[in-house]
Symmetry: C2
Subunit: 437 residues, 2 copies
């Protein structure tokens, strides 16, 4: 693609239309810049609700929003539906599947993908859940394995199809465990009358001694109680050794026969090729200074999950949550404007608005500064915050109706297998992590 | 699968959970039979709204409904998510991917698929739209070609990506042509500011001299007018000769450069293997007697699109519409009960409730017996009938909200490319037509 048109404004290229990327773009509206937003999907994904797509409670399209539609009114922005293959820092160019794109400022907002910590076997057989295609794959696999279970005459043969092992007890693992437990408790004996509720098992595994590690002890304890009550079996202080598609083995000898392992035990940054090795921090993140600028560069920023801002207050960088990406995006957008005006950029300051996680109906955890609450009220806060954060009025209404309908009926969601899931297709993962040069 | 359990009730196997199949199942509720419903999808598809999924106005999941959920309350029914590979008439068994299933009565309700009339090249390159996966493929292709068009510097290069040729001016072709014209008229210059409205062309082709052939002359004429006003170019009395993926050629020498050919020019029955050659009628349909029983058999029925009931009043059989399938399903379900009671089965009598087709906002055609209307009132009827026919209250509400939101904003739908469409994947079509033995 050629973007050497008559425009004399500097070009800001943003890679990634996630929480961070769209904030940068928004800040640059009506400013004297030309913005090019690149994403390999033509939509923004509201990742916090992916787990509800995976369990079939929500349609994939109600947690996604067209990037073109979102920026319809922004005249200085062009969207490009493509993937970046490499950053050419010497020539200030990103190489993409549709040709090179020149930049004056570059913002890397590529987010993170699942980290299997180098275990290829687990990567092949365990299911990740970081994107809509991955959440759909997971849904189809779960539903197909319920169908398979029905066909096995003996309890022993059914066990592996009906055991769900979630590795990683952070918010994703906890929320998914809760949703699967509700599927068992409320839906299984309606939709799959041939199966017994007791045969379906949900396990939540973590090598840490508690669930929701980064939450308050109070919140973590409440989540633990909720999960127990809903029948989730917690395996804490437990490390995964291997998974071959049929049996997951843990250090110390214990193992579980299962066809369903879902991996949310870690993430790593998605770093485009062309980033120097020196700029890579633990977790495959890009080291940035206090204005989110990649170290060793003048005009390249990294924000959100892919950025590691190591300071005295944040020796490990910031947590990989939407709020960090949003706020870094805001600061970076504003700083680009300041730099264009030859003003001093302002350092990034994270304003922690708190943490929320939901386990099931009437059951959530809210840690908001010193205010901590668990149960029904936290659950109302969780719903309210997620609804207003969704992009698009139509999406909000549709998600709300789905939630109300599920709440009343105990039987929400459509649970459709639109495309059969085939293990082989998983080999081409949705996200590719490339190595730094 | 073994279904030789203790039940002493006769087994009715129904192949297909479309409009016909689910009616048969419903009629057999609480009757002294064991019902096994087989479908290769775990959902019922509301085909009349597929075209809105294809243009991104509706989520795929709001026009589909889980078959398990639908029959939750019906204790004598079991659902099997599988495909039938062959009917073994001698042994009263259907062979499936999950093993043989015995039947006492068999109902073939497999519907129809796209008919390319043996032209393999067209079959390879043109897009069919008879199932949800096919409608999604079509949507992704259309959206990807708009993205591709943006990247071409010259009008000539863009032309093929921006030309949409719909072959077959029946309800499907007409409705899709209208929806694509609205996409051009209302959405294109918002979402794809780089493209000019005038460059996008929608052609509707038929070898007949008029659109909506089976409708009244009045309705057909009105549809023609509506399409013209919306900027659809009609090519009537025109036969397609070939399509190689880049250029569609017509008899007589005319041709159009296009990457988008959508084929709705004909259908053919989906007949499972094992049906005798003598029982096959024109259009690959199964010949049935006046009680929908396959000729030459005692206990096998065929209903809906796959059935051809040739009588003096219906020398070509019945039209391939939902109402025929629904009514044949009702009659067949009732007749199976009568036969079990050793009562005389009742002959099928089609009650034609009329025809509806919509072209765009405020523009529809209704032929209801002698009552004929076109325009706004017909459009209200069309919406009302389609909403109440949808399965599931939640689906009705969600479709209604989508329609209201589109009507107000002129910019409905989400237009997301969830999975990239690749031509090669089309080779394995969603529907396979097997030959009779």
């Amino acid at each position: 693609m050629s973007n050497t048109d008559s425009s004399k404004f500097p070009t800001v290229v943003i890679i990634g239309g996630g929480f961070g990327g769209i904030q940068v773009a928004k800040q640059l509206a009506d400013k004297p810049v030309e913005v090019i937003l690149i994403d390999k999907h033509n939509y923004h994904t509201f990742q916090p609700l992916l787990y509800q797509v995976a369990t079939g409670s929500l349609e994939s399209e109600s947690i996604a929003f067209s990037l073109r539609k979102n920026f319809e009114g922004q005249k200085n922005l062009r969207f490009r539906h493509t993937e970046v293959s490499r950053i050419d820092r010497e020539n200030n160019t990103v190489e993409t599947t549709i040709g090179p794109i020149k930049y004056d400022y570059l913002v890397i907002a590529t987010g993170s993908t699942t980290n299997f910590f180098g275990n290829k076997e687990i990567e092949h057989y365990a299911m990740p859940m970081k994107s809509i295609p991955e959440a759909l794959n997971l849904r189809y696999m779960v539903l197909q394995n319920l169908e398979e279970a029905i066909l096995r005459p003996s309890k022993e043969e059914r066990a592996a199809y009906l055991s769900f092992v979630l590795v990683g007890a952070g918010p994703t693992g906890v929320e998914l465990a809760g949703a699967l437990a509700e599927l068992r408790n409320h839906v299984l004996n309606k939709d799959y009358a041939e199966l017994s509720k007791d045969e379906m098992k949900v396990y939540l595994v973590d090598f840490l001694p508690k669930v929701l590690g980064p939450f308050s002890d109070e919140g973590s304890k409440a989540a633990d109680d909720f999960l127990h009550k809903m029948g989730v079996e917690l395996l804490l202080n437990v490390k995964v050794e291997s998974y071959d598609g049929n049996e997951i083995k843990f250090e110390g000898g214990k193992s579980i026969k299962t066809k369903n392992v879902i991996w949310s035990a870690g993430v790593q940054g998605v770093v485009p090729e062309g980033v120097s090795k020196d700029a890579i921090e633990r977790g495959n993140r890009i080291k940035v200074d206090t204005i989110c600028r990649m170290i060793g560069t003048e005009n390249i920023f990294a924000i959100g999950d892919v950025a590691a801002m190591i300071t005295d207050e944040t020796p490990k960088g910031h947590p990989g949550v939407a709020q960090v990406a949003i706020q870094m995006g805001e600061t970076t957008g504003k700083n680009i404007v300041r730099m264009l005006r030859a003003e001093q950029p302002l350092p990034f300051k994270y304003n922690d608005k708190g943490s929320l996680a939901t386990i099931g109906r009437n059951k959530a955890i809210a840690d908001i500064g010193k205010f901590k609450t668990q149960g029904f009220f936290a659950w109302l806060i969780w719903m309210f915050v997620h609804l207003i954060s969704l992009m698009g009025g139509r999406n909000r209404v549709i998600v709300f109706i789905n939630w109300v309908s599920s709440y009343i009926s105990y039987n929400g969601g459509s649970r459709l297998i639109i495309r059969n899931f085939k293990r082989e297709e998983l080999v081409q993962k949705d996200e590719q992590v490339s190595k730094p040069d």
